[in-house]
Amino acid sequence: MVMTIRIIPRLDIKGPNLVKGVQMEGLRVLGKPEYFARRYYEGGADELLYIDAVASLYGRNSLLEIIERTAREIFIPLTVGGGLRSVEDVRTVLRAGADKVAINTAAIRRPELIREVASAFGSSTVVVSIEAFRKSDGKYECYTDYGRERSGVDPFEWAVRAVELGAGEIMVTAIKREGTGGGFDLELTRRVAESVPIPVIACGGAGKLEHVSEVIQKGKADAVSLASLLHYPVAADYQVQHAQYVEEGNIEFLRRQGVFSRVQGSSIGEVKAYLGRCGVACRPQLEGVVSGANQPA
């Protein structure tokens, strides 16, 4: 292992809320993203990833406000994606405090966007997000619009092309695994990671600690994005502290204190301690941070 592996909490945002779905559908409200972001920062997250879950369909003004508030108090890299269509969109998000942008839909429709953003802000600003669907014949296809639309594009060829156009990182999400807790798609991740000379972030499927070490050691991921695994214990705390919090959206999940049986909630400290035992190098958990409230439910 030559690179220190990054653990990147992924926060999917809808309106003012942090949401989480299964296979990118059925989004449930978990709470205010700022609360989760602060907890992850204090717990030793290496970066944060904000994805606007509905930006391809609606506006995203509330996301800009969330980015600004986050960037004021959180001093780790912040990547923002969801609905970015132009260099101007990217500039707006970077001005609000993002360090990098994740682009999927607009890049597949017009690949030159990658080159434009890379030349305007530097390659290291551009994360190309690949959302891949594994078909019944075992082949993969890129989807756009938050996992809704087929594109006919082969993810492995697309990854190579994205690097040529100036991508600094590739994020790869297996749509079928996303939110299920059933583990990452190791074949998809490994094949993308071995196709490109730039870092690859694995996303979608972690339900227990073993999945994280697996996608690094077998899937060859350089960074791992986690959502459900980290969110559910924090959501439970959030609910206790914000019992009066009611917003539009599906909050039934919070009321029922539902936690998927397939997702074993963990803290970032637990993830990193586990990876350490597996021989995976990562930045240690921040000292002096008590994560006792972050135990599995």
Binding site: M1, V2, M3, T4, I5, R6, Y41, D46, E47, A71, R72, F75, I76, P77, L94, R95, A96, G97, A98, D99, F121, G122, S123, S124, T125, G168, E169, P197, I198, P199, V200, K220, D222, A223, C282, R283, P284, L286
Partner: protein, 224 residues
């Protein structure tokens, strides 16, 4: 400068990099900093922060087109503190090798070279190098070296900082190297200091509480 007025710090805006996070970090530790692309303001400031991501050649071209190179050199000649971050650190050097050879600001003698992509003895080397790595005191400088009272004061030897870069600097004078880090079997200079000129290859403003500690140290260097 009179005791009653705070020193002014210019964050040089040449169109690249997350200036917002640099400004936020300054605000957090009480450094009165303003983002500017005006060479007059840069030359007149009491200290200069040169941030940046992107390509060396493009950045130098932009600095020259806006006469910002002269303003930074003027500040340097007057002995004002200059802090280069990431690409900003690389621009302080004499030469950059990125898609050809480019002349840098030449404040620090040395050059800028790329990481080699490909396999090392223990695995793949992906470039850009993105992630948190320890920064260590150079062996030849003894236990405290340049860290005492400097920008890295109070940090643990081996503290993790956030890096995102494809190139690294090679100062000609080893005594300017304030910290070293490793990536893909290569040991590189991750911080340098020559008088009032300081460089960080990592991003202290994106390196959590310990990164903010560096900004606190910078505040002390500026205010004194």
């Amino acid at each position: 400068m009179a005791q009653t007025s705070l020193p002014s710090v210019a964050i040089v805006d040449f169109g690249l990099g997350n200036l917002f996070s640099v400004k936020q970090a300054c605000q957090r530790v009480g450094i009165p900093a303003a983002v500017t692309s005006d060479p007059g303001q840069v030359a007149a400031a009491d200290a200069v922060i040169l941030p940046g991501v992107g390509a060396f050649g493009d950045a130098m071209q932009t600095l020259r087109a806006r006469s910002l190179d002269e303003a930074i050199l003027e500040a340097n000649q007057l002995g004002k503190p200059i802090f280069g971050i990431c690409l900003g650190m690389q621009l302080l050097m004499g030469d950059g090798h990125e898609f050809g050879r480019h002349k840098g600001l030449g404040i620090i003698e040395g050059d800028v070279v790329p990481f080699e992509r490909g396999a090392s003895a223990n695995g793949r080397v992906k470039v850009p190098h993105i992630g948190w790595e320890p920064i260590n005191r150079p062996v030849h400088q003894g236990r405290d070296g340049m860290w005492q009272n400097g920008p890295l004061a109070g940090l643990r030897d081996g503290e993790y900082m956030y890096f995102i870069h494809s190139f690294y600097v090679r100062p000609s004078d080893a005594s300017t190297v304030a910290a070293v880090s490793r990536y893909g079997g290569t040991e590189f200079c991750s911080s340098l200091r020559q008088g009032q000129v300081v460089g960080f290859q990592f991003h202290p403003e994106r390196s959590g509480p310990e990164g903010l500690r560096i900004y606190e140290n910078l505040a002390r260097l500026i205010m004194k």
